[in-house]
Amino acid sequence: MKDVRRQKSRLKFLLQDWRLYSMMLIPIVWYLVFCYKPMYGLIIAFQKYNIFGGIAGSDYIGFENFRFVFEMRDFSIALVNTLWLNFLDLIFGFPMPIILAIMLNEMRLIKLKKMSQTMLYLPHFLSWVIIGGMVLEIFSPTTGLINATLLKTGLVSGNVPFLTDGHLWRFTYVLVGVWQSMGWGTILYLAAITGLDMNLFEAAQIDGANKLQQIWHVTLPGIRSTIVVLLIMNIGRMMSIGFDRPYIIGNTLVQDYCDVISTFVYRAGIINGQVARATAIGMFQSVVGLVLITIANTVSRMFDEQGIW
């Protein structure tokens, strides 16, 4: 009896706000078409795929594609590099937007604040190809801005190998990445900070807390859940890495440091038409990503934080 009533009231809600619910159809359809339907294509990871035969006309070969890829010498290098670069990004790239958001929030001159925000967002809209060109202009040996300056002023006797020494290249990679994304990353945190109760700050002030103490005891705890959610999502992405950034900033001299899964897939799967193997790697990445995100979420809930589900 109670159930029926609840169902009725649900239906009522649905009918009452049908316009809002129907708007949800768009993202639902988007997910179905672009995320769920393509999953059917994962079948080819287990096939000797013939593009003319399609999925129905190709032979099933079990885990042969996976075995082939895992046995390739470059795969383990690419896997390790992916984790390395993502880990460095997490360590250096993750806290930056938080720090930046707090700094922006403390700015008193509204005009200056708006201007800084806009300027910080800008790099996010630059294509990696353009950033790649800038990186060459700035970090190149001899002719690059930094090396040319250092050499002219006599601070160094030889070029600093920003792009050609593996370890320094990682530094360059992370630096450029942080520069490109930190501004954009502040948006969520700024929104969260804006949502904080001003009374808390006033109360802290009355208690004699200085700015730093206010940040530590009010702002940071206030945006803690946002931080945790973003951290979990970042950990879930540990296995996947964008293609453009390592591909464009990398070069042959540091191949052993810049070759990551996406560039590996491009080289060993896409260029030479081995779509089944590329699919196998993609599936492997997704599965590991799913495992990682589940672990992160579980750990977060164990510490009494909110998870993402």
Binding site: D74, T252, A268, G273
Partner: protein, 526 residues
């Protein structure tokens, strides 16, 4: 009201059916042909002079409606693969990606052409000739069959080495003939700072897609031919750096690099900087395609002349073997591949071969390559060769043509004989005819065609791209390491290549040699 609606709907239906009906009356067959779209302003590949010419002279007399289907030149491989997967490929397809095409052949997506050619393609077969056609023949298990038609490549020369003639004069030196003389020249150029403070005696930039491409002349000069056999030559096809002696060429480069004679951003792949340095006159020596110094797209010489008074590039071979043969690898005589997908029906496939066969006739080819007199050119010489072919940008839109794309069976201008073709090709470099002709002679000396295979080398498919990226590593690491570390570095990266699938490729190519499943010959065979 209802009646009116019915009437309107009926009319609509009639109108929509009518064009189809009228088309069906005029043409029995619609032939769809892939055409590269190079995004040239004012040139619409679906409606252009060449297409109209074809329709008038081939289509209408044969009752065939010819349509050109645009495919972006820069992503033709992806476009083609999408078409083939969806079964919507045009009836005549073309591609420069012959590796992928070979996979399509193995997967049964390409129509064999032997019978069609015999019946409908006599002129085409004659024009291409056996030496070109062989590159489209593969054995997929039932003997050699013609799966695609390779374009006839008029000029097979690949590269030249370029040296600054004005620098040589300034230094009072002769054109270097071997690597030691080159070394002297590079050192002298550096000492005299001939290109200013940032003089780059030997400018070199990594070509990541095929790292050893720019090194093949140098390496071939150092190979110890006494130690290898014809079998090795085939087994190590495209991997000459593994042949005995070849690494000495790279060791020289390492020496140059460590003496500060080579571009210091070598390996980073900064071709824009390389180009800028070149036209500013900083470079003293470089290796590039045989005509690239004067090619209109790059204007290296033209720009250099503006920036440096008297600055002049001269083609030379500074890596001649001291005691032994000097060999120059060429391209194969085959250009891009033209094929008919398996999905095209018999009737249309016949029309497709007729189309290409008609194109091989001298008049049609001449018209398609040169366009219309008075628009793309105004005068011809005694041999009927246009003397003032205009750049496509300078032609009125309605008369714009693209010679190679519109007449895909021929890669380069064809005027009836090798002699005329070479003479005509030099016309394409106004003001530098002699220099270009000289470069062609240098490049063609000791020419040999590379080895290719008539069956799929499966390990190439599996590991080829990996190997080529490793080759890039081998090259840049070996060139940039300290001189005493050279051998260690070389062995380390060679080992990486062999264990990443390189050994499988060599073994499989050796098998193919035993089967006789290869084309080309060993230039040092007695």
């Amino acid at each position: 009201m209802k009646k009116l609606l019915v009437l309107v709907l009926a009319l609509c239906m009639l109108l929509s059916v009518m064009p189809a009906l009228s088309l069906a009356e005029d043409y029995a067959i619609t032939l769809r042909v892939e055409m590269y779209d190079r995004s040239i302003a004012g040139f619409n590949v679906e409606d252009c002079w060449q297409l109209h010419y074809i329709q008038e002279n081939f289509g209408d007399p044969n009752g065939i409606k010819v349509e050109w289907v645009p495919a972006s030149r820069w992503s033709e491989g992806e476009v083609l693969s999408r078409w083939l997967q969806g079964g919507t490929a045009p009836d005549i397809c073309m591609t420069y990606g012959t590796d992928l095409l070979q996979q399509y052949i193995d997967q049964g997506g390409v129509r064999p052409l032997d019978e069609l050619l015999e019946e409908y393609g006599q002129d085409l077969t004659d024009f291409l000739g056996a030496s070109v056609l062989q590159y489209g023949q593969f054995d997929t298990g039932s003997g050699l069959q013609q799966y695609y038609l390779p374009a006839r490549r008029i000029i097979v020369a690949t590269q030249s080495m370029y040296i600054r003639e004005d620098w040589l004069e300034e230094l009072g030196m002769e054109v270097p003939e071997n690597v030691e003389e080159l070394h002297d020249y590079l050192l002298a150029a550096k000492d005299a700072n001939l290109g200013g403070e940032r003089t780059i005696p030997y400018s070199s930039d990594l070509y990541a897609a095929d790292p050893f491409y720019g090194w093949i002349y140098q390496m071939d000069s150092f190979i110890d031919y006494d130690q290898i056999t014809e079998e090795d030559w085939v087994a190590y096809a495209e991997m000459h750096y593994l042949l005995p002696g070849a690494k000495e060429a790279i060791r020289w480069m390492n020496t140059f690099y460590n003496e500060g004679l080579v571009t210091d951003y070598f390996g980073i792949g900064n071709s824009e900087q390389t180009d800028a340095d070149r036209v500013l006159g900083l470079d003293g020596f470089w290796v590039g395609n045989w005509d690239v110094a004067w090619r209109m797209e790059y204007m290296y010489q033209q720009e250099l002349s503006k920036n440096v008074e008297g600055g002049k590039w001269l083609a030379c071979d500074a890596f001649k073997a001291v005691d032994g043969p000097t060999l120059h690898e060429t391209y194969t005589a085959a250009g891009q591949a033209i094929f008919i997908p398996a999905t095209t029906d018999d009737e249309t496939a016949i029309a497709a071969i007729k189309y290409l066969n008609w194109m091989a006739s001298p008049e049609a080819l001449y018209a398609l390559q040169n366009g219309e007199m008075g628009h793309t050119y105004t005068t011809v010489d005694d041999n009927g060769i246009p003397t003032d072919l205009k750049n496509i940008a300078d032609v009125e839109d309605a008369y714009k043509i693209h010679a190679t794309d519109g007449a895909p069976i021929c890669n380069g201008y064809y005027y009836g004989s090798d002699e005329l073709n070479y003479a005509a090709s030099a016309n394409g470099y106004p003001g530098y005819t002699e220099e270009v002709a000289h470069s062609l002679v240098v490049s063609n000396t000791g020419a040999y065609e590379p080895i290719t295979f008539t069956r799929t080398i499966q390990s190439r498919v599996d590991y080829g791209t990996t190997i080529s990226s490793k080759e890039g590593e081998l090259l840049v690491q070996a060139v940039t390491c300290a001189p005493d570390a050279f051998d260690t570095v070389w062995d380390e990266y060679v080992n990486a290549i062999l264990t990443s699938g390189g050994q499988q490729i060599i073994d499989e190519q050796r098998e193919a040699y035993a089967e006789g499943a290869y084309r080309g010959f060993y230039p040092m065979a007695d």
